[in-house]
C-alpha cells in the first residue's frame, strides 16, 4: 500500500530539486554580481578580485555526515537536501597581483567566467522549467497541460 500513500506533491523529490535549483540560481546570480564588480574595478589600483566560494562549501557539505531526521514512519521527511541550505559566500582572491598597481583582475578570465555563469544560469532555468513541467503533468494528467 506504500505506493498509494506516496510522498505528496509538494514534499517529494521534485520540491527539493526545485529548492536546490533555486539556490543554485541564487549562487549563479551572486557569481555574476562578483564578475560585474570585478570588471567595474578593472582600473582600480590595489583592488583584489571577488569570487563566490563554491568549492569550500561543497567540500564542507561532502565532509559532513548528513544525518537523516529521526522519523517514526518511513514516509516521514528524512531532511534530505536541507543540509545544502547555507548560502554561498563572497571571498576576496588576493592571489598574486598581476600588475604593478596591485590589481589582480584579469579581464579575459572575468569574461570567460561571465560566459560560464550566463550559460550555467540558462541551464538551471531550463532544469527548473522542466521540474515545473513535470509538476504540471502530474496536476493535469496530460502532457499538453
Amino acid at each position: 500500500m506504500i505506493g498509494i500513500v506516496g510522498p505528496s506533491l509538494f514534499s517529494g523529490n521534485s520540491t527539493s530539486a526545485i529548492d536546490a535549483l533555486g539556490r543554485a540560481l541564487d549562487a549563479a546570480a551572486l557569481r555574476q554580481e562578483t564578475v560585474a564588480a570585478n570588471l567595474a574595478n578593472v582600473s582600480t589600483p590595489g583592488y583584489h578580485r571577488k569570487d563566490v566560494a563554491f568549492a569550500p562549501l561543497l567540500d564542507e557539505l561532502l565532509g559532513r555526515d548528513a544525518l537523516p531526521l529521526a522519523g517514526a514512519d518511513p514516509l516521514h521527511f528524512s531532511g534530505e537536501g536541507a543540509e545544502a541550505a547555507e548560502p554561498p559566500s563572497v571571498i576576496t582572491d588576493s592571489s598574486g597581483a598581476m600588475r604593478l598597481d596591485g590589481n589582480n583582475v584579469d579581464p579575459d578570465a572575468e569574461a570567460a567566467r561571465l560566459a560560464e555563469t550566463e550559460i550555467t544560469f540558462a541551464a538551471l532555468t531550463h532544469a527548473l522549467s522542466a521540474q515545473f513541467a513535470g509538476l504540471r503533468i502530474a496536476i493535469t494528467g496530460s502532457v499538453r497541460g
Binding site: A29, Q32, A36, P107, A115
Partner: protein, 149 residues
C-alpha cells in the same frame, strides 16, 4: 535582487571609465596649453578610482547589522581628479610669447602616447562593463522564462 545590483555595479564602472575618457580628452586637448588661470603650463590630470560600498537595500541592511559593507560588490567610484606633479616639459623656443629669459618654454607634462594608452584602456574597460550588463540582462530574461512552456 542581485542581478539588478550587478547592473548598478556595471553602471558605476561605465560612469567611471567615461569620466576617465573625459579627463584623457581634456589632457589631449590641452597638450600644448602654456597659460592657465593658476599660472604656468597646463598640468596633466588623472582620475583616482576606489571600490564603492554596497548600494541598495542589501548593503544598507548589512551596514545596519554592523557587517562590514555587505558583500563588497558595489562597483567603483571616482574619488578625486588630481594633478600630475611631474615637472613640465622644457622646450627651447625663444620666439614663443611664454618663453623665459633662457629661451625655454614650459610645456604641459603630457605625453600623448601615455594618454592614448590610457584612452584605449578606458575603452576596453568600458566594453567589459557593457558585456557584464548584457550578461545580467540575459540572465534576468532567462529567469523570467522559468515555468513557461
Amino acid at each position: 535582487m542581485s542581478l539588478f545590483s550587478s547592473l548598478g555595479a556595471s553602471a558605476s564602472g561605465m560612469t567611471a571609465e567615461r569620466l576617465r575618457m573625459d579627463v584623457v580628452a581634456d589632457n589631449l586637448a590641452n597638450a600644448n596649453t602654456t597659460r592657465t588661470p593658476e599660472g604656468g603650463p597646463f598640468r596633466r590630470r588623472r582620475v583616482v578610482f576606489e571600490p564603492r560600498a554596497d548600494e541598495g537595500f542589501g548593503g544598507a541592511l548589512a551596514r545596519a547589522r554592523g557587517a562590514d559593507g555587505g558583500t563588497g560588490l558595489g562597483g567603483v567610484q571616482v574619488v578625486a581628479i588630481v594633478e600630475d606633479h611631474a615637472p613640465p616639459r622644457r622646450v627651447y623656443d625663444p620666439g614663443h610669447p611664454d618663453a623665459g629669459r633662457d629661451g625655454y618654454v614650459s610645456m604641459p607634462n603630457i605625453a600623448t602616447v601615455t594618454e592614448m594608452v590610457d584612452m584605449m584602456s578606458a575603452t576596453r574597460a568600458y566594453e567589459a562593463n557593457v558585456a557584464a550588463v548584457q550578461a545580467a540582462k540575459h540572465m534576468a530574461m532567462k529567469a523570467l522564462e522559468i515555468g513557461r512552456g
